[in-house]
């Protein structure tokens, strides 16, 4: 016996303010006031409203609220990272999430996989959902498509890489100085033939790290040897092959500077396969879990991801709170962690 309107509303939808109002015998606006904690409501009436809301299982509709509301805030921000599954991105997400949570703000995430098209698509998809702001680790070389959105009121903060053709707050690691420190550290152990293994040259951080590497060599008056510079290593396997190739040179490097996580791990595998892990020194950029458990432990230039995420989130919320000051780029220092691999001294030449 299909009924149009039984006593209890059994239609699939959710109860609305209007229904709560009807049950409590008040106007919808009063329910709105109670839900928003407006203090001018009679306590007794408020109690009746809360009771009715409870009874119906009422939950406010934030999308409707956001639509009507003056400030148009959704209490939601978006975060676009390279890959939510990699430890760097994951740690960044978690830090931002924690700070957002303190303000009752939730985080929408998207992985870009270094694809500029995806960056654009996802950024716009987030904007279509009217996020209050965006934290972006950009994949593309042109963020001008965001100019209109920024002007329309979406706050933007960039992390790890600067935006192009767009003026926004940025938080980055000191990649160049970090690379200089890494290479000088290897030099202190006596090394002069130091190879550089890096990922795509198109990624700004990779370029900055190469720049630091070259600068450190120059400071020490060591002529850079192009054969020792391997770039465009995208996978762990690529890094393994590059390291093998380097070590097979007639005059192989005595130390490696690997400019990214996956590359560090790949090179580390290659050295072990060649039984050279205790003879060739290595410093990697980016720390990674269990780096201290390998033999030798892997010395790294660690980025302070927690600080980066915290600064980015704070920059975003400061803007959301109305800060109009000029945009700023914050540079976070990196830190050398010595664990063994970077302290292997220059020994006998590996090849006659």
């Amino acid at each position: 016996m299909p009924q149009g309107e039984p006593g209890q509303s059994r239609r699939p939808g959710r109860p609305t303010m209007r229904e709560v109002a009807r049950l409590a015998g008040v106007a919808p606006k009063t329910v709105s006031r109670v839900v928003n904690g407006v203090s001018t409501v009679d306590p007794q009436m408020a109690a009746r409203v809360r009771e009715a809301a409870e009874k119906l299982g009422y939950r406010p509709n934030l999308t409707a609220s956001n639509l009507r509301r003056g400030d148009g805030r959704t209490a939601t921000i978006g975060m676009l990272v390279e890959d939510a599954a990699n430890p760097y991105s994951a740690a960044l997400i978690r830090t931002v999430e924690n700070i957002a949570r303190e303000r009752g703000v939730l985080v929408l995430i998207g992985s870009l996989d270094e694809d500029p098209d995806r960056e654009r698509e996802l950024a716009l998809a987030l904007i279509d959902r009217r996020v209050d702001g965006l934290v972006i680790v950009p994949a593309g070389r042109d963020q001008s498509y965001l100019i209109a959105e920024q002007r329309a009121g979406t706050c933007l903060v960039f992390v790890d890489r600067e935006p192009k053709l767009l003026d926004a707050d940025v938080v980055v690691s000191d990649n160049r100085q970090g690379a200089v420190t890494a290479v000088r550290h290897l030099m202190e152990a006596g090394h002069r033939r130091i190879a550089f293994l890096g990922d795509q040259a198109s990624i700004p951080t990779a370029a900055q790290r190469l720049d630091g590497y070259l600068h450190a060599l120059e400071l020490a008056q060591v002529t850079a040897d192009r054969t020792l510079i391997q770039q465009g290593l995208v996978t762990e396997q690529g890094a393994i092959e590059a390291a093998r190739h380097l070590m097979a040179l007639s005059d192989p490097p005595t130390a490696l500077f690997t400019s990214q996580n996956l590359v560090t791990i790949g090179a580390s595998r290659a050295l072990r396969d060649l039984a050279l892990e205790n003879r060739v020194a290595m410093v990697g950029f980016d720390d990674f879990p269990l780096a201290d458990m390998l033999r030798p432990g892997i010395s790294v230039m660690a980025q302070d991801i927690e600080a980066i995420g915290r600064l980015a989130a704070h920059a975003l919320f400061r803007r959301l709170d109305g800060d109009q000051s000029p945009t700023a780029t914050t540079t976070v220092p990196t830190r050398l962690i010595t664990r063994g691999s970077g302290e292997i001294p220059l020994g006998e030449p590996l090849r006659a």
Copy 2:
């Protein structure tokens, strides 16, 4: 000279359909049709609308659309995990994100840190934003607070642990069988004194793994020794201390079964500190990066996280597509990966 309405609309907000409509000289509804790709619009008119939208930098407001729209879908789902920064959760997020993306659905995330209150708060915060569905790795022991939401149309899928007092789809690993396999593997190497190191007993997966451990012993007619069972290990440091304690017993275990990632790594550190890593066998539950790079490599029961995430996402979207069939629990098998630590044979007793 403050102007109310200059030629170009310069107010901070975003252009709306109405403004696009005015510029294109059509009705708002026509803009709506163009934006939604309705085919009955005159191509010439559609082009004019698109041009106007482009010119104004128009972006549709999905929250408004969702409000008016019949199905009330936001093309957004929520995902509550233990901690977005841990590799297990991060991989899960990424898998779900990938499948959601194929449908133009974005993912809101939240980390629970095993806190039931946070689970409830975040789940409701997501529901207030009218997510279409939720993927939850529950922290609490009672999900009845979601019954009303489920009835109201929010699809729910649980991962890794079953919900309590709520009927919903579930995707879990075969924890018990995995533990049985791990312990039998250690027995095949001759071990009988096998310790169990696990995290909080309150977490269902932990209980299931302990259950499997006990069952395997029973099958082999080995009496379980309560002194060899260490539970409630929350941190890596806790696991280190537990392993130290076990190895200091007058009759220490010859093999360890560690029921969780952090515990495995802690135990591994402890064994290495005691120089026992090549004498005491160990199998861990959950694979982790670089497990193969340690010496010895750490043998593990690996969960198929990608399959779990995929099945969970598919279950969710099947429901969203209207599937009304009874809820189902899908169990995903685990896989033994041998890397050395689990194959260390029973040798001389460690203590006289």
